[in-house]
């Protein structure tokens, strides 16, 4: 990797100041994407701001019926949290199936959501559960957060401090992993919350998206039979050696039905 200056601030304020002062700086959370990128010399930040010592960013707490997860909380902590398992077991399940044990014990929810990799799992949960992303400056609704391929509503120097997930009445996440990387080739998160039914798809397109037709059908009848004839167009979906756009479109249907069945169990 290329040389860079390394910083390890202890507070969000200090971290934000560093990021604002150095326009070529990058924040590092678990480093699950940034470290390989650096090692392959695909990024050349002037400074790396390690959020590992910012204690206020970690932890899981309940606020009313919501589960609030700090940005630096590791996947393994979410997967094993009694609070998450009680309120939204599907979210704990999702976290427990990200990457491998090494990734789950390094990678963080804030890092994953801020990076917005099209094949990441968490964006599906954030959108389907209609979560709210809290940053050092504001609150952002899930539907406003994910903007496109690796693109979010975060401004320069803006950090995710926590994400608040409303309790789900029913929810499940079904992932069809890429056979090689085991990232989501198609992941469908289905959730029924106080706000209604949402179906969010990750992996299939350049960015997480909702399937309105399925949501409407499931709002009337929350069963896999209700969506069995709903297909989604292949146009605009990802295509690579592991899955054509047509195959991914097909898998969205299969995974959605399986998610609904799992949510009903």
């Amino acid at each position: 990797m290329y040389d860079f200056a390394y910083h390890r601030p202890k507070s969000v304020a200090d971290a934000v100041k560093l990021l604002k002062d150095k326009p070529e700086a990058r924040a590092i959370s678990g480093g699950m994407t940034l470290i390989p990128t650096l090692k392959q010399r695909l990024a050349r930040p002037s400074d790396v701001v390690d959020l590992g010592a910012v204690k206020e960013l970690s932890g899981i707490k309940l606020e009313g019926t919501n589960v609030v997860i700090g940005g630096m909380t590791k996947h393994a902590e979410v997967a094993t949290s009694a609070d998450v398992k009680a309120a939204i077991p599907a979210l704990a399940h999702l976290a427990g199936h990200i990457g491998d044990p090494q990734v789950r014990n390094r990678g963080t929810i804030g890092g994953s959501v801020a990076n917005n990799d099209p094949a990441a799992d968490y964006p599906g949960a954030v959108v389907a559960l209609n979560a709210t992303v809290t940053t050092n400056t504001r609150k952002i609704a899930a539907d406003e957060f994910f903007k496109g391929l690796f693109e979010t509503a975060l401004a320069d120097g803006e950090l995710i401090t926590s994400i608040s997930f409303p309790k789900a009445e029913k929810a499940a996440y079904m992932k069809f992993p890429n056979p090689a990387s085991r990232y989501a080739m198609v992941g469908v998160f289905v959730a029924k919350t106080a706000a209604g039914v949402r179906v969010a798809v990750t992996g299939a397109g350049p960015c997480v998206f909702r399937v309105k037709a399925m949501e409407d059908a499931l709002a009337k009848n929350f069963s896999s039979a209700a969506i069995k004839d709903i297909t989604i167009p292949a146009d605009g979906l990802n295509s690579d050696i592991h899955g054509s756009a047509e195959y991914r479109a097909h898998l969205v249907g299969v995974m959605a039905r399986r998610a609904v069945d799992a949510a009903n169990k």
Partner: protein, 794 residues
């Protein structure tokens, strides 16, 4: 010897202590004082002319010690890399041999081709400088699509091989085969692709070299499967360093699977540059470099036809194959799709007439050479796929069709129509045992039950044969091999009674330190902890041919046995003197010399001591010391055989395949350590299933970029892709080597692709799918089902 540790015992591996505690010593672990570090600048293009190469800015960068380019090698008169097996085409002409410069001079021919070597004080310095090298490429169109390599207008890889043709080779008499086809009651035709694989040994290739200015001696540490052969090639053909001035050491090596047999540009450069730099040089491939520059495996396009009579007896087989060589001919590339492939097309069957035509093609891709099984998996895949297809077409049970055509046990030695003479075997009991273990009878019930869960269940057979234990030197010599293929051993007792056994074989995961020690223990009665197996260093071991082609035990183990016989023969003379008996009356058993019919005895350790301290010793008749060498040249190949049965379920909604049952019954001849053999079979099956379901090297057909260039896109098999395997053995000892052994390292990988794909076709037949190519990924299977549905709807 004792059942606990001798031949046939499940002895825990001696080498595991260091491997499992992280104390193995690999090339990259070497502490070399004042070391420099090498980084290779590689071509980003599949085919380009180098218009200009400017190292001036890079050479001035911090930490840079030296930069070498192809021109430096030309100036220094360094030879090119060689292909060590001359295959003669069907007109008797030797294959086309385009030059293989160690580093590109004016043209790059695949993504990863070596352009420059930067030597610096650290890897980072070397990489920084490599980025500052300015290369002006004139990008040319590339020939990537193997099937179109010979088409008019396909981009040419080398002017020395017009039309990209390396050879047009054949075996068998075409007219006789055609005549048999004319009389056939049934002809089964099959087009298939044997997918290209990237070996991905756990340890990437690495090299380190040091030059001793005082003596003029070079030492090269390399991740080689055959250090003596590497030294021979570097000395005699490439660098011209006299053989006795070059020491090659292959210390602990983390897997090879064939990919570390060959002489590569990187290690050649590290060795050559060490004397020019005047400091040691270290280099370890990054994983991306391994993907791009390790020799790849397989990559055939084949059309095959099998002629049968009305009862299903095979009358004749004809096979047409195009084999990919990549951009340059690697060390043994030419032999793999000819003598290691077409000679195996008889399989386990009495097919009386076989004709095969193989055309080797150049493409703008990484060189292709031997990979676990090397030619034999490709042959088995053709034979076992077409046999199962014929069974399905003729509505004969696939096991029954195989049995009908098996070479009977009474027919050995059996001369096949494709050169090989099988020495031994008994195939029917193997398939019987496999079917019993796999509960073949219960399959239809399981298929029905699976259907009720929405799954398509299938079962597939693969009855393989392989020729391994490479090889009788005069046979391979007559076929064009540049080397002999005997093996060596030296048994060197120390005065205190413990023993060092030097072998020319090389262990890079095969457990020689345990298996060979069991042989010594069994033959000489020396306790296991008093035995050291030494390998991998040209300075300490006798010249040896290394390990590949499942040869270490059958050839190297036999050399060890020969050396034990010499030890015993000498020991008898010494013991006779010590016991004041006639040599003819001395026998040796369980580590003790005895005088027949008396209670007089003397243990081997005492004989050894007497040999090193010969105060009371027959010096007039016997030399002091207890140190014997043996070389063993096998009389024939060995012929392991077996049957695998794969049972799997396909989820038609996603195309996902799950292997639910996998049975393998093998005849490896006598077995030294069943636990180690099972490990080899497990690994082999996993690699073969990897080829069938998961792995595929994919180049972009127009740009030649390696799309499957990392583990993000190249699917390695993982533990959760597999059930527990059911294994068993049937034994017909090899009649021509002293241990009666046959070799087990490649069998799993040779047999399993066909077992899996036959099961896939069996599962998908009810939904109308005719053919699925490897790897049968979820996408591939889903598209096949979808295609069949579309066809049915039309």
């Amino acid at each position: 010897m004792t059942a606990a540790t001798g031949i046939g015992a499940r002895v825990l591996r001696t080498e595991d202590k260091r491997f499992l505690t992280g104390t193995g010593r690999y090339v990259d672990d070497l502490p070399l004082a004042r070391a420099t570090y090498a980084y290779f600048l590689r071509s980003p293009h599949a085919h380009a002319k180098i218009k200009n190469l400017d190292i001036s800015a890079a050479a001035k960068m911090s930490g840079v010690v030296n930069i070498f380019t192809g021109k430096d090698l030309v100036d220094a008169k360094v030879g090119g890399l060689i292909c060590g097996w001359v295959v003669k085409d069907k007109h008797g002409e030797p294959h086309k041999a385009p030059p293989h410069p160690v580093m590109a001079v004016d043209t790059v021919r695949y993504v990863g081709d070596t352009v420059a070597m930067v030597v610096a004080n650290s890897y980072d310095d070397a990489k920084d400088a490599a980025e500052a090298i300015k290369v002006d490429y004139d990008v040319q169109p590339a020939n990537i699509d193997l099937a179109k390599s010979f088409d008019k207008g396909s981009p040419q890889v080398h002017p020395e091989a017009p039309g990209n043709l390396i050879y047009d080779w054949e075996i068998g008499v075409k007219a006789d085969v055609e005549a048999a086809f004319a009389k056939a009651a049934h002809v089964t035709k099959l087009d298939l692709i044997n997918n290209r694989l990237i070996p991905n040994a756990m340890e990437p290739r690495a090299a380190a070299a040091e030059y001793d200015k005082g003596t003029g001696n070079y030492t090269l540490w390399s991740t080689s499967q055959n250090p003596h052969v590497l030294r021979l090639i570097l000395s005699a053909f490439v660098l011209g360093i006299p053989e006795h001035k070059l020491r090659v050491v292959a210390p602990d090596v983390g897997g090879g699977f064939g990919s570390k047999i060959f002489c590569y540009a990187d290690e050649t450069m590290v060795c050559w540059a060490a004397s020019r730099v005047g400091r040691p040089i270290k280099w370890t491939a990054e994983r991306s470099e391994s993907f791009q520059t390790d020799c790849h495996g397989r990559d055939h396009v084949t059309h095959a036809e099998l002629a049968l009579d009305k009862d299903g007896k095979f009358l004749a087989l004809k096979v047409e194959t195009i084999a990919n060589m990549g951009a340059y001919l690697s060390t043994f590339a030419t032999a793999v799709p000819t003598y290691l492939y077409a000679t195996l097309l008889a399989g386990q069957y009495t097919t009386p007439l076989i004709y095969a035509n193989v055309k080797a093609a150049l493409t703008h891709t990484a060189p292709v050479d031997a990979y676990r099984g090397a030619g034999r998996p490709e042959a088995t895949f053709v034979v076992e796929s077409i046999v199962s297809k014929a069974a399905a077409e003729m509505k004969i049970d696939p096991a029954e069709l195989r049995r009908k055509n098996f070479i009977p046990s009474t027919a050995f030695p059996y001369q096949t129509p494709v050169a090989l003479q099988y020495d031994s075997g008994n195939y029917p009991p193997i398939i019987d045992e496999a079917m019993k273990m796999a509960d073949y009878k219960g399959f239809e019930a399981r298929r029905t039950e699976a259907k009720s869960r929405g799954k398509l269940r299938g079962i597939g057979f693969s009855s393989y044969i392989e020729a391994c234990g490479l090889a009788p030197s005069q046979v391979v010599g007559s076929l064009g091999a540049g080397v002999g293929q005997w093996e060596s051993a030296q048994i060197k007792f120390n005065p205190t009674g413990n023993v060092q056994v030097m072998t020319g074989a090389h262990s890079h995961g095969q457990s020689h330190e345990t298996t060979f020690a069991q042989i010594i223990h069994d033959k000489l009665g020396v306790p296991m902890d008093q035995i050291e197996i030494v390998h991998g260093d040209t300075a300490t071991t006798p010249f040896g041919m290394g390990s590949y082609g499942s040869r270490s035990l059958a050839v190297g183990g036999s050399a060890i046995v020969k050396a034990t016989e010499k030890i015993i023969a000498k020991g008898k003379k010494v013991a006779a003197h010590l016991m004041e008996a006639s040599v003819a009356d001395v026998e040796f058993e369980n580590g003790v010399f005895k005088v027949t019919g008396t209670d007089k005895n003397v243990p081997l350790a005492q004989v050894v001591f007497a040999a090193y301290v010969p105060h009371n010793y027959p010096l007039a008749e016997v030399e002091p010391g207890m140190d014997e060498n043996a070389f063993y040249d096998p009389a024939n190949f060995v012929y392991p055989a077996g049957t695998q049965i794969c049972e799997l379920e396909i989820d038609p909604d996603t195309g996902t395949t799950e292997i639910v049952n996998f049975t393998a019954i093998d005849d490896f001849g006598n077995i030294i350590n069943p636990m180690i053999v099972e490990g080899q079979v497990h690994g082999g099956i996993v690699q073969g299933v990897g080829q069938a379901l998961l792995e595929g090297a994919v180049y972009d057909k127009s740009t030649g970029q390696l799309i499957s260039g990392s583990f993000m896109d190249y699917t390695m098999p993982r533990a959760d892709n597999f059930p527990s395997f059911k294994l068993g053995y049937k034994v017909t000892p090899c009649p021509h080597n002293p241990l009666g052994v046959k070799g087990c390292g490649e069998a799993g990988a040779i047999a399993s692709p066909a077992a899996v794909m036959n099961a896939i076709h069996n599962a998908l037949a009810p939904v109308g799918v005719k053919h699925v190519e490897m790897p049968a990924t979820p996408l591939n299977v889903w598209q096949s089902i979808k295609g069949a549905q579309r066809q049915a709807a039309e």
